[in-house]
């Protein structure tokens, strides 16, 4: 029985009904991984350990809510005794002595981590082209990028290899690849999911979240990923609801905000048309639309490209060739150890951001850049706070278009940075946001972004699930409509 493209819910039913054993499921998964090796979605596989766990589950049934569910983990999460590269040459030999809290939470719920997925180096990129381990192919087209930085995770789910993957989102790294690969992905409220064991890119923006075929699966995953973690002081100490509880409740009367400042007229007609159809769809479900204003939203991208590189320049200082990771060969002195190790270990995009970050934090420029950016960030957050007084969620396209071809953005990093135009504001404000498939352009999927109020993931998931039970965009696969 084929397991390709099956959702978590479907696989769990198959396991419960003994249509398939845990071991068969894992074997089948690795077969699919190998058949799809051209995608280059995985950096490291965890086959032996996965089969062992499956065998254990076959012998001793587990009550874990996700028992036996194969999951692909973004290679940014530390996994004990399993190589963790963060997409970088710098960590090509790094085997962590501990696991991230997210990994532990998922594995405690019974998930089987089948491998580590490819990603933009240190999560810096929107096309997965910055990975030291090569491009990831979008299952929807040979030369198409899967988006980034969680490109391997998105491709693995989109190709139907695994029903679920973990991702991280600093400026759109879950939502943008979800959009470009035609899957569902959720970035939770900043602090919902512990950052312990996530290799930091920009600490005040990074947030882990689920990537799956459906909003319902995202809810199942989020239930297990969240926890208040004393090892992360920015982790939120608030009750964690059952995110599946309200999925099927009607969204009659849901107030959806449309951002006045998002000028859709600059987008391709196709994109606008897909978005307009989704609006009509939500109207048919009983939602009403209200225009809202986020006056400072146009400053999001420049603000982000000051804050994120600043934090990254400091976070990546620990990769110096002294304690772990790569060390250059025979440096003649300390300075050369640093220079050679970091020159060889980091790729161009990472270096670019370290340079930008070092510049904006340097004496004499701090006030003009970093401090100013933090002030603007506060204004953007205030804009959202006011908006959420009149609406329940905010809706926009996730991306400016569908998947583009590798290399098509050329050498202009600004063009690539603008990819995250719609996704960045939620990171700056710390708000939950998700992307669900809502249409096709030239046989390529595209996503719809829903942004929620602080800690209001439940409402996002409810709105997304309502959309999915009344449409079939999320059922489309690269090999045709899902049966």
């Amino acid at each position: 029985m084929s397991i390709q493209y099956k959702s978590i819910k479907e696989l769990k039913n198959m396991l419960n009904d003994k249509d398939i054993s845990h071991t068969e499921l894992v074997q089948e998964t690795f077969l699919n991984i190998k058949n799809n090796s051209a995608l280059n979605a995985f950096i490291t596989l965890n086959e032996e350990e996965s089969l062992k766990k499956a065998n254990n589950l076959d012998n001793t049934p587990s009550s874990g809510s996700l028992a036996g569910v194969p999951i692909a983990q973004k290679d940014l999460f530390c996994t004990k005794d399993l190589k963790t590269t963060c997409g970088s040459n710098m960590l090509s030999n790094f085997i962590p002595p501990y696991s991230a809290t997210v990994i532990e939470n998922l594995e405690n719920a019974g998930c089987i981590s089948v491998g580590k997925t490819n990603m933009d180096e240190f999560a810096m990129g929107s096309s997965n082209e910055t990975s030291f381990y090569g491009n990831v192919q979008n299952p929807w087209g040979k030369n198409l990028v899967p988006g980034g930085s969680s490109g391997g995770s998105a491709a693995a789910v989109a190709a139907g290899i695994v029903p679920a993957a973990s991702g991280t989102d600093t400026g759109g790294s879950i939502r943008q690849p979800a959009s470009l690969c035609g899957i569902s992905g959720l970035k939770p409220t900043y602090g919902r999911v512990s950052r312990w064991g996530m290799i930091a890119f920009a600490s005040s923006l990074d947030q882990a979240g689920p990537m799956a075929r459906t909003a319902e699966d995202c809810a199942l995953l989020l239930n297990e990923m969240c926890s208040h973690d004393e090892k992360d002081t920015t982790s939120i100490d608030e009750a964690i609801p059952d995110f599946t509880e309200n999925l099927n409740s009607s969204i009659q009367g849901l107030k959806i905000g449309l951002v006045k400042e998002f000028d859709l007229s600059k987008l391709d007609n196709d994109v606008v048309q897909v978005f307009e159809e989704s609006k009509k769809h939500y109207e048919s479900l009983g939602a009403e639309f209200i225009e809202i204003s986020l006056p400072n939203i146009s400053l999001s991208v420049p603000t982000y490209y000051v804050v994120a590189p600043a934090e990254c320049s400091s976070n990546l200082s620990r990769f110096d060739g002294v304690k772990f990771g790569k060390r250059c060969d025979s440096p003649k002195d300390l300075e050369e150890l640093y220079i050679k190790t970091r020159s060889e270990g980091f790729g161009d995009e990472v270096k670019r951001r370290i340079l930008i970050g070092s510049y904006v934090l340097s004496a004499g420029f701090y006030d003009a850049y970093y401090k100013k950016a933090q002030q603007v960030r506060r204004l953007i957050k205030n804009d959202f706070d006011s908006a959420f007084k009149s609406v329940d969620i905010i809706m926009s396209p996730t991306t400016r278009g569908a998947a583009f071809e590798a290399g098509s953005k050329g050498d202009d990093p600004i063009q690539m940075y603008l990819e995250d135009l719609f996704t960045i504001p939620a990171n700056l404000a710390g708000l939950p946001a998700m992307s669900i498939p809502n249409g096709m352009i030239d046989n390529k999927p595209i996503g719809l972004q829903l942004i929620g109020n602080f800690l209001d993931e439940s409402r996002l998931l409810q709105a997304a699930h309502n959309f999915q039970i009344s449409s079939d965009w999320h059922l489309k696969t690269p090999s045709g409509n899902k049966s």
Partner: protein, 475 residues
């Protein structure tokens, strides 16, 4: 026109918490290299710091004891620079909003009191140690110390000479040891300081260009380094040249400071708020609790010793000035009613030994327990005061236990009256001419007889009994 010196000190105090500032790693000194290092101290990818509240409480104690403002909300910043013993490539410190704000401390130099204002005191993590002399052509890194909590106490530039600087450092050391927030052990690096020195013509309004001398860890070197630096700067200025703003290193072997790096070569630390740590908020209740449990400080102790134990204020001051000495005093007084006797030993013989060797009581072999036993053995007449002096000398040399010394050297005082009487009679019988002279009115000879008895008993006779017996036998 004469030259005027302006000095400011930055003192790094290692706080005596069990675990590190941001991890559960142990802070104990002297372990095998890299054995007290956990994931956080190592700065592994993905780890996050969690602030140790105990360190905040200790910092607050210091603030309260120096009448400082306490910032009930304080924040952390990152100071970025590369060095092999700095695992993360940045140090977490408090730049923008330190836990302790403006305060002050009283110092005394040659009987003159002066108030030195303290700009701020902030928490930060210590770095590890680079070991340059153990491996041929390579440097070793020991991260045991990495993450140990430091309180950096920054003075205003109000110190006028080397003696004041030393007095200030001693005053800070006194406070932190009394507050039980630091062991004050300078040899182990528990307290270190950076000294900023500049000179100017005494009528000049503006401060001169300063040099910072890094990482000095003894009173003696502070004084020497400052005096060297003042001379150097005056020499340069008098030759018509100007001082370069720079960081200098003190070489205690050559007794000189030399340039480490100039302002141009200085790091741009790229400070920014640490995004991994939320502001630390101290509640009113927490602050009151710390205030109510503040240990007794030297001034209060001094007053109490006068009132409660009847000491002279000069004695009380000497004893109360050192936490160890105060502990010895209070410990010994618990074993005897004769607090005067205890004070005499501390202010007399012990202080004399300390002065002779120019050391601090913590650096001596004398422990509180041993001192209390010594006093107890004097009080219960096991040994005489004279024997006690030789016991003290033995302790000073070897650190041996009082009772062991008494037993192994057979120093127990002879109390046996009949034995003493026999000895006294022999002395009298053997010295007929002195007996005649004494009886003829040469009263001073009494001491001769006492001395002879003491000689016969190797000083172990109870002097009081000897006096009585001799008086009786010679009458």
């Amino acid at each position: 026109m004469s030259w005027e010196t302006v000095i400011g000190l930055e003192i790094h105090v290692q706080l005596s918490t069990d675990s590190k500032l941001f991890s559960g790693g142990s802070t104990s000194f002297g372990a095998e290299p890299n054995t007290h290092v956990d994931l956080i101290d190592l700065g592994l990818p993905g780890v996050l710091p969690v602030a140790n509240r105990g360190a905040f409480h200790k910092a607050i104690r210091f603030g309260l004891a120096t009448n400082a403002e306490i910032n009930q909300t304080s924040t952390f910043d990152r100071k970025n620079y590369f060095y092999p013993d700095l695992p993360k490539g940045y140090q977490i410190t408090q730049m923008a909003l330190p836990i302790v704000g403006k305060g002050s401390i009283k110092i005394e130099v040659e009987g003159q009191e002066k108030i030195i204002n303290i700009t701020r005191a902030h928490l930060e993590e210590d770095a590890g140690k680079s070991i340059h002399d153990l491996f041929d052509g390579e440097t070793g890194v020991d991260l045991n110390r990495a993450g140990t909590p430091l309180l950096e106490i920054v003075s205003e530039p109000e110190i006028s000479n080397a003696k004041e600087a030393v007095a200030y450092f001693k005053a800070i050391r006194q406070i932190v040891t009394f507050l039980d927030i630091c062991d004050g052990n300078m040899a182990q690096g528990s307290m270190r300081c950076d000294v900023n020195v500049s000179v100017k013509k005494s009528d000049a309004a503006e401060l001169g260009t300063r040099a910072e001398i890094k990482n000095i860890n003894s009173f003696k070197f502070i004084e020497k380094a400052i005096n060297f630096e003042i001379d150097r700067q005056i020499r340069i200025l008098e030759a018509g040249d100007s001082i370069i703003q720079e960081t200098r290193l003190y070489d205690s072997v050559k007794n000189e400071t030399r340039s480490m790096r100039s302002k141009e070569e200085a790091n741009d630390y790229r400070y920014f708020p640490c995004p991994d740590l939320l502001p630390v908020v101290i509640s009113d209740e927490e602050l009151i609790e710390i205030k109510n449990n503040l240990p007794e400080l030297p001034d209060e102790k001094e007053k109490r010793y006068v009132k409660e134990f009847g000491l002279d204020s000069s004695e009380a001051k000497i004893i109360a000035s050192s936490k160890t000495m105060a502990n010895m005093f209070e410990g010994a007084c618990a074993k005897t009613d004769d607090s005067k006797l205890v004070a005499n030993w501390l202010v007399g013989d012990i202080s004399a030994l300390l002065n002779k060797e120019n050391i601090d009581i913590d650096e001596s072999n004398l422990t509180s327990e041993n001192f209390a036993t010594l006093i107890e053995r004097i009080s219960d007449k096991t040994i005489s005061g004279k024997i006690a002096k030789s016991v003290l000398e033995e302790i000073w040399e070897t650190g041996s236990d009082v009772d062991d010394i008494i037993e192994s050297k057979g120093l127990v005082q002879i109390q046996d009256e009949s034995l003493l009487e026999t000895i006294a009679q022999t002395v009298i019988d053997n010295n007929p001419s002195q007996v005649d002279a004494f009886k003829g009115g040469k009263d001073k000879l009494f001491g001769f007889f006492v001395g002879q008895v003491m000689k016969e008993t190797q000083g172990k006779a109870n002097p009081q009994s000897v006096n009585e017996i001799l008086k009786r036998l010679l009458s």
